[in-house]
Amino acid sequence: MPPRPKKFVCTLCKNNVQVVDYKNPGFLANYITYYRSLQSRFHTGVCLKHQKQLAVAVKRARGMGLLAAVRYEK
């Protein structure tokens, strides 16, 4: 029998994060791509609850100029 695949563990659940904060762009930067779009759940490895919170937080941060929505070339 092939080995069982590893059990899916959300990193945010593991760290006991209840609410994702939009005020910490350094943290949110871990969950966006090179071109500044939100990474999919496949790549973030986060549960659905936290993925939805991340999406809201990133959008709020974008609105307030904490994160960019596109990548700017210098």
């Binding site: 209840q18 904060d21 939009y22 871990n30 500044r36 100029g65």
Partner: protein
Amino acid sequence: MQQYEIMVIIPNSLDAKAAEKSYKDLNKRLADEFGAQVTFEDFWGERGFAYIINKQKWGYYAVSQFEMDPTRAQELRHELNLDKEIVRFLLTKVDPRAPKPQKYADMQKEYAAANKKKAEAAKDAKPAPGKKAKLTTVKEDAPAKEADTKPTEKAEAPAADEAPKDAVDKKLDAIIDESSTDL
């Protein structure tokens, strides 16, 4: 009563003191006109934008939390939209499960410490032979981070330059004196 959080950007046409004052005025206005109880105040200070807003590259950020009657929220939004001393604002409900609000300075420190830990862990992991290097996603420094450093650089730069400037001035004076004597 509902717990709200507001983040405002104050334009960089004001200097730091005036910006802080206008932020405090805003808090006062919340208390007087909207019957809000301000529970948390934090003036972040200068911070660069991740993209250009109103043709400007930076502004003053400030965050405060308060309790307010939810029926007044619409009115507050309307007033803030008309306010010319606010570039942008974000009024959000505070999740009851959210931890206590943190000051910006503490947040920065925590983030720096976490980054240091990560860097050290990466260093320790490198010498271990036999293991393949992990595939990491492209983690390019977000422009916001660069923006973080901008204001501090601004603050540090003049202090560092002062001493050499004096020396250069003296040298120039000496050269001028010499040249005048030669003539």
